[in-house]
């Protein structure tokens, strides 16, 4: 069974009529890193929001199976507990809520839903400190409110920290490379690479080949007008980088 199987998915913004995803098919296997590339407005972020269950979007047809189960009817928190993680393109600030409070609330919320006991505080602190160190996240950052006053790079590293703590089955990285300098990009990529495992899949959404130099994809999909129009190996990303989207998108149309 595939980790993620999307069949003929169509979706639109709840308040508009225009369809954004137009019969999208996509399969991600366990252990696979699938890159999704595509021009602006092709539906990349919509795909990530629809999978995570954002209310502003309405699914008009098709299914998305995670481990064989259609998740499209579930609330976002239930999808999260089933192992779906979205690293946000623009992580959200929550003033007054300490990072540690937030991380612990998230871990325990998922553990409860999966019938596990809450994490013990000493174990939690040890866990966070270990992961934070790997990602160059300082104790000072851990003491601040969630994403408040963080630089762009700090916010993205913080997303990866959350991913590392929540240990999802399927991680969707939505333009995690945007706004990162090379050093920050490397730290983020190292964090992702450290989590690659035979049981886990990644969907890496990006505009640029650059990120894929650091996170080597197994497969590259090209998204255009709400559909996957081409699938290939890592060389497809290089081809896109060299020729631009227009060429491939034009051929497919």
């Amino acid at each position: 069974m595939s980790l993620l199987e999307i069949k003929n998915l169509t979706a639109k913004l709840a308040e508009e009529d225009k369809q954004i995803l137009n019969g999208l098919n996509l399969t991600v296997e366990k252990g696979q890193v699938a890159a999704i590339m595509g021009p602006n407005g092709s539906g990349k972020s919509t795909l990530s929001y629809v999978l995570a269950g954002r209310e502003d979007y309405e699914v008009t047809g098709g299914e998305a199976l995670l481990d064989g189960e259609n998740i499209l009817e579930l609330d976002p928190d239930e999808r999260a507990a089933k192992g779906l993680f979205l690293a946000f393109q623009y992580p959200i600030e929550i003033p007054g809520v300490g990072q540690m409070t937030f991380l612990k609330a998230a871990i325990n919320a998922q553990r409860r839903k999966n019938g596990l006991d809450e994490i013990a505080t000493p174990e939690f602190i040890k866990l966070v400190n270990g992961r934070a160190k790997e990602l160059g996240i300082s104790q000072d950052m851990l003491r601040r409110s969630v994403n408040v006053g963080f630089s762009g790079g700090e916010k993205k590293r913080n997303e990866i920290l959350q991913m590392a703590l929540l240990q999802p089955k399927l991680a969707i990285l939505d333009e995690t490379d945007s706004g990162l300098d090379i050093d920050a990009l490397k730290i983020v990529a190292d964090g992702v690479n450290a989590m690659r495992s035979p049981d886990r899949g990644f969907v890496v959404i990006t505009h640029y080949q650059r990120l894929l130099d650091y996170i080597k994809p197994d497969v590259v999909h090209v998204l255009s007008a709400g559909r996957i129009i081409k699938t290939g190996g890592p060389e497809l990303a290089l081809e896109l980088e060299a020729k631009g989207y227009a060429d491939i998108v034009g051929k497919a149309a």
Binding site: A52, G53, R54, E55, D56, D75, P76, D77, R79, A80, A81, F85, L86, F88, P91, I92, E93, I94, P95, G96, V97, T101, F102, K104, A105, A106, I107, N108, A109, Q110, K113, S145, Q162, L166
Partner: protein, 490 residues
């Protein structure tokens, strides 16, 4: 934050009926005849066996009240109150000066047990570490039914009793201080209170005594069509310290009930009073039917040099809240503080804030107000910061933040600032924000339910103020806030 989880569980347990204190107690009551007149004032005074000067004081107030008009400047809207259509005195019949808990009607004891208020000293002593002990004055409708730990407090010279008892035992202290902070002429409701107040708490802390335990008063309105008019008087003599907490609940009734209290605090040289309120009067139902009209005058007088008064309030209940706990900073180098969380949901209306009146030199004040509006509620912060000509180097910092949940509620900030001295420094910050769908989605994507997400975000918003509450009540207040907001989303 385990409190967040506890909150959510509590919210679930409560289900449809959010207000868990809404039960009423069946008990035989003695009621004064309905309505208000000089005879009623005399009746109340006689019931309490008050000295003649007290009756005169009440009658003065009553006569003045007849000439006054209800204030209309607050941003609240309610039908005309018929002051003749309510009872001004309601006391449990069995409460003829009980000497011990065994003489108190078991129905009343059961009520407080259900409310989670410990009245049996032995039980408290058995279960809790000594530093966690809290002395309680329990006021049921118009009278104080019991005050705990009185004897123990007396050993350190602290007087903690009902104000009726203080009028019998310490009339000179009462006479010296009552009305000295909130005069009988102060405002419509305070004047009404002066005429008909029936009970309340009295605290006196002698010089250089640090009160050995938290003091608290628990107000319960039970009877129908009854107003509660209590009066609290706290005096901290030179160099003393006291922390005091007030809690309130009422049954769910579909009529509006009036609660018009007066609280006066006096801090002498180097004394400090910390006054915390967790107000959870019945807020009315979702359509705005029923609930308490909470029209309260609270004022502290920093009478001595270097004295300090600090108000902390968590306001979640009442159909209408009209309350401005204030500080008169009379003594040089005195300090006033006001920390407030006001939560409104459903059809609740809140008009609350503070006044910081700087009279002495080098006086400082600090105002942190967090308003949270949900449902169709309206939540107004109204505040005054003023500096007298003599109040050189007066300093104030004000921060008013409003948080909106949903699209049908309102938040308003009305700050008044008056400075008559050039050396005063007043700072004012205000923000209004909304619990955004982005924040909700972000939290839920990480596994939190909608209720957990709201509780987390709101608790973050009010954190600065929650930290000011006594430890024991912080968690309680957190839960209360989340419960009050139940059903505010989705």
């Amino acid at each position: 934050m385990p409190a967040v989880q506890e909150t959510v569980e509590q919210v679930r347990a409560i289900d449809v009926d959010q207000y868990k204190y809404g039960f009423s107690t069946e008990i035989e009551m003695e009621l004064a005849p309905k309505g208000l007149s000089e005879d009623i004032v005399r009746y109340i005074s006689a019931r309490k066996n008050e000295p003649a000067w007290m009756l005169e004081w009440r009658l003065d107030a009553y006569r003045r009240w007849l000439t006054m008009r209800e204030p209309e400047w607050a941003r609240v809207d309610y039908p005309q109150i018929d002051f003749q259509d309510m009872y001004y005195y309601a006391a449990p019949k069995s409460n003829a000066a009980p000497q011990s808990l065994d003489e108190i009607d078991p129905a009343i004891l059961e009520t407080y047990k259900k409310l989670g208020i410990p009245l049996r000293e032995q039980e408290i002593l058995a279960g809790v570490a000594p530093e966690k002990r809290i002395a309680v004055d329990a006021v049921f409708d118009s009278v104080s039914v019991v005050t705990t730990f009185k004897e123990e407090l007396r050993k350190s010279g602290v007087i903690f009793c009902s104000i009726s008892e203080a009028l019998q035992e310490h009339p000179e202290l009462v006479r010296q201080y009552i009305g000295s902070v909130v005069p009988t002429t102060d405002n419509f409701y305070a004047t009404l209170n002066a005429a008909v107040f029936s009970d309340g708490s009295f605290v006196y802390i002698p010089p250089d005594v640090r009160c050995p335990m938290e003091l608290s008063t628990y107000f319960r309105i039970n009877e129908q069509k009854t107003g509660q008019f209590e009066r609290t008087l706290i005096i901290a003599d030179k160099g003393s310290y006291v922390s005091y907490l007030e809690g309130c609940t009422a049954p769910m009734r579909d009529e509006n009930q009036l609660h018009a209290a007066v609280v006066e605090l006096i801090a002498h040289d180097d004394a400090e009073i910390k006054y915390s309120t967790v107000q959870n009067w019945f807020p009315g139902d979702a359509e705005g039917k029923g609930g308490i009209y909470n029209f309260v005058t609270k004022r502290g007088d920093c009478r001595g040099a270097r004295s300090k008064i600090s108000w902390t309030q968590v306001e979640t209940g009442s159909a209408i809240t009209w309350k401005y706990p204030s500080c008169i900073l009379r003594g040089d180098d005195s300090q006033g503080e006001f920390y407030s969380i006001a939560v409104s949901n459903g059809a609740q209306q809140v008009d609350s804030g503070t006044k910081m009146i700087h009279l002495g030199k080098n006086t400082r004040s600090r105002i942190i107000s967090k308003g949270i509006s949900a449902g169709r509620s309206q939540n107004t912060y109204r505040g005054l910061v003023s500096a007298h000509r003599r109040a050189t180097n007066a300093k104030n910092f004000t921060n008013c933040d409003s948080l909106l949940i949903g699209n049908a509620c309102g938040a308003h900030t009305v700050p008044y600032i008056e400075s008559k001295t050039a050396s005063a420094v007043f700072e004012h910050e205000a923000t209004t924000s909304k619990v955004s769908e982005d924040q909700m989605f972000y939290c839920m994507q990480r596994g939190l339910t909608q209720e957990e997400a709201i509780a987390l975000i709101v608790n973050g918003f009010v954190k600065d103020v929650l930290q000011q509450l006594p430890m024991e009540f912080m968690v309680e207040a957190q839960k209360l806030i989340a419960i009050s907001l139940e059903g505010s989303v989705g």
